[in-house]
């Protein structure tokens, strides 16, 4: 396990993604190393979620391959892979009245093997994750009664309880209030810097992404892509091109703030 941890990497080789007949990503050769924090940036429909689902192994790419720790994602045993990478979906639909703690405990599934019941270590991990997301007071609540932001934090808590070196998050700041957006992003940054976890996330807040990410991947949605450290990839000109809207930056208190340029509505 420890040898794996030091080698944690995810890499794509000549990856090609399509939606219907439209090419979203083409020839993506991309490598993400241990302890790096990546933001995927692009317009709606540019293939960000498709890419993340492909990295998670939930869908097959139209071309090329994804490798985790040097092994094709399709060659992994699902249970082993579940201990290496966790995936946060963009949205969820709760059909049954599971409690919050049961939801988070379900993320411990890959550690159970043949056991029927969870152990005390699973409960400890679940409660710790709930506390980290400040939702431990909701542990007994029916997930269907939570607000959107609370539900999102519970979902992130489940991701933390899965305790994997690689985290794939599709819009983790979705539905969160301002304070919790900052808190969640700060937590992800700490996971990268202190515990050397690898984070790949999708987000629309450029300022927040720039502050906590070490790297960024820009998807134009027509096959083109740019990958690199934030200082290179998140140049205003590049972002304007990727997002199809002029973007200005200002420096404030040592932070770079990205603002969309006003357009006339006359």
């Amino acid at each position: 396990m420890s040898t794996h941890d030091t080698q944690m990497s995810i890499r794509t080789r000549q990856l090609e993604l399509r939606a219907a007949d439209r090419i979203l990503v083409q020839g993506l050769d991309w490598e993400v190393g241990r302890g790096e924090c990546w933001s995927i940036i692009g317009r709606n429909g540019a293939g960000k979620s498709t890419l993340l689902r492909t990295l998670a192994g939930l869908r097959a790419p139209e071309g090329g391959a994804v490798e985790i720790d040097g092994m094709p994602v399709t060659a992994w045993k699902l249970e082993d892979l579940a201990r290496r990478r966790a995936y946060l979906a963009q949205s969820r639909h709760d059909a049954f009245a599971y409690s919050v703690i049961e939801t988070v405990l379900s993320a411990r599934h890959p550690y159970h093997g043949k056991r029927y019941w969870e152990g005390n270590d699973d409960h400890a991990a679940a409660m710790q994750a709930l506390a980290a997301m400040e939702v431990d007071h909701l542990a007994a609540r029916d997930v269907r009664t939570l607000s959107g932001g609370e539900r999102q934090r519970v979902a992130i808590a489940a991701l933390l309880a899965q305790d994997t070196p690689l985290l794939l998050l599709d819009e983790p700041a979705n539905a969160l209030d301002l304070a919790h957006q900052v808190q969640v992003m700060g937590l992800l940054a700490r996971l990268c810097r202190q515990q050397h976890k690898t984070v790949i996330m999708i987000g629309h807040d450029l300022t927040l992404a720039h502050r906590i990410s070490s790297h960024a991947l820009l998807l134009t949605g027509d096959g083109r892509w740019t990958a690199g450290p934030v200082a290179d990839a998140m140049q205003p000109a590049r972002l304007s091109d990727t997002l199809g809207h002029p973007i200005d930056t200002i420096e404030h208190g040592g932070r770079r703030i990205f603002i969309p340029r006003e357009t006339n509505h006359d």
Binding site: A56, G57, L58, R59, A60, L78, E79, D80, L81, A82, R83, R85, A86, Y87, A89, R92, H93, D94, A95, F96, A97, Y98, S99, I101, E102, T103, S106, A107, H109, P110, H112, Y116, W117, H123, M127, Q128, A131, D136, H137, A139, A140, Q162
Partner: protein, 344 residues
């Protein structure tokens, strides 16, 4: 960071044993009630002696004879009710829809087509059962052919299960159209038996070991998959990222619940509401965790049908009502009440 003492909904193994133990007692009690109740009641005082006689295989006393006669039917009721409730739990987990029941995909409608055709042609009892089974298996196969692709993991999120559901609903209505056709051309004399089969009736249901084997094997599969079913119910297609083989689990749930439904419908006709209200009631009382829900639903469904059948053969004795009418009469108000409670 503070520690939280309260773990109210933690599915403690002790809590599960308590629930299953209590339901096991309820099941035994329901079987005893069924054995004692009838046109000639067996007094509680005679019960221990009669029970010992039946278990030893000799029926010297009147009480023992009555008990043995009623026990066969009560056990058939139990295995049928347990199978339908378990099929309901599995179907609801597969479709991620708490309103699904074992009949929703048309498996019972297929069985009805087979059974009614056999009844129409005046076949022997064994042929009717075989025809019902054939109908159920035929519809399952057709459904699987249509929806095979949608059961794979990664089949466009939840769209896969709604395609399966739609296909099943359409197959079910086609079968019901055939049933209506047969009922309208059936001669007067055979209509009654055909209608009774449709409603579900345990009178004359044979005592066979096969339903027990099916229920036992299905229960084993369900308990082994219980944790994975929780993950599937919670995360749908994304259950794959937690190490669950979504495609294999969906196929397993589909086939095992289909087998249970076919087995139950073959021996007792399409008894309604058990597969819907028992899983609901158990979820309401014990929570949605499948590790508790599965054994609870089997025991609860079995006991419920035993009691309903006892009611069906005693309430307007000597006339025997079809048990399906009783389960629907009791089931519908209970279900409405639960729905109303949930909305509060």
């Amino acid at each position: 960071m503070h520690t939280v003492q309260a773990r109210p909904s933690r599915p403690l193994p002790q809590r599960a044993f308590l629930i299953v133990g209590a339901l096991l007692l309820a099941a035994v009690a329901s079987l005893l009630v069924a054995g004692m109740t009838g046109s000639i009641a067996v007094a509680p005082g005679e019960l221990p002696d009669a029970l010992v006689q039946v278990l030893q295989g000799r029926t010297d006393s009147m009480a023992a004879t009555l008990l043995e006669l009623r026990a066969g039917r009560a056990l058939t009721a139990f295995v049928t009710g347990g199978a339908l409730a378990l099929a309901g739990v599995m179907m609801q987990a597969l479709l991620r829809n708490p309103l699904a029941d074992p009949y929703i995909l048309g498996i019972s409608a297929g069985a009805s087509v087979g059974a009614l055709l056999a009844l129409l042609l005046m076949c022997a009892a064994a042929t009717i059962d075989a025809a019902a089974l054939g109908g159920a298996v035929g519809v399952s196969m057709l459904l699987y052919l249509f929806a095979r692709r949608d059961m794979r993991s990664g089949a466009a999120l939840d769209a896969g299960t709604s395609m399966l559901l739609l296909t099943g609903v359409i197959l079910s209505s086609s079968c019901m159209a055939l049933v209506t056709l047969m009922l309208s051309v059936a001669p007067e004399g055979r209509l009654r038996s055909m209608v009774f089969w449709m409603i579900g009736d345990l009178a004359g249901a044979p005592v066979r070991p096969l339903p027990w084997i099916v229920l036992g094997a299905a229960l084993l599969y369900a308990l082994r998959s219980a944790r994975a079913m929780n993950v599937l119910a919670l995360h749908a297609d994304n259950a794959g990222t937690l190490g669950v083989r979504v495609g294999a689990l969906r196929k397993g749930l589909f086939f095992v619940s289909g087998l249970l439904t076919a087995s139950a419908v073959t021996s007792a006709g399409s008894i309604g509401f058990i597969g819907l209200i028992i899983p609901h009631a158990c979820r309401f009382a014990f929570g949605p965790d499948h590790r508790v829900l599965i054994p609870a639903a089997v025991l609860g469904g079995g006991s419920f049908l035993v009691l309903c059948d006892t009611l069906a053969r005693t309430v307007v004795a000597p006339t025997q009502l079809p048990v399906g009418a009783i389960t629907a009469l009791i089931g519908a108000p209970i279900f409405l009440y639960q729905l109303h409670q949930l909305r509060k």
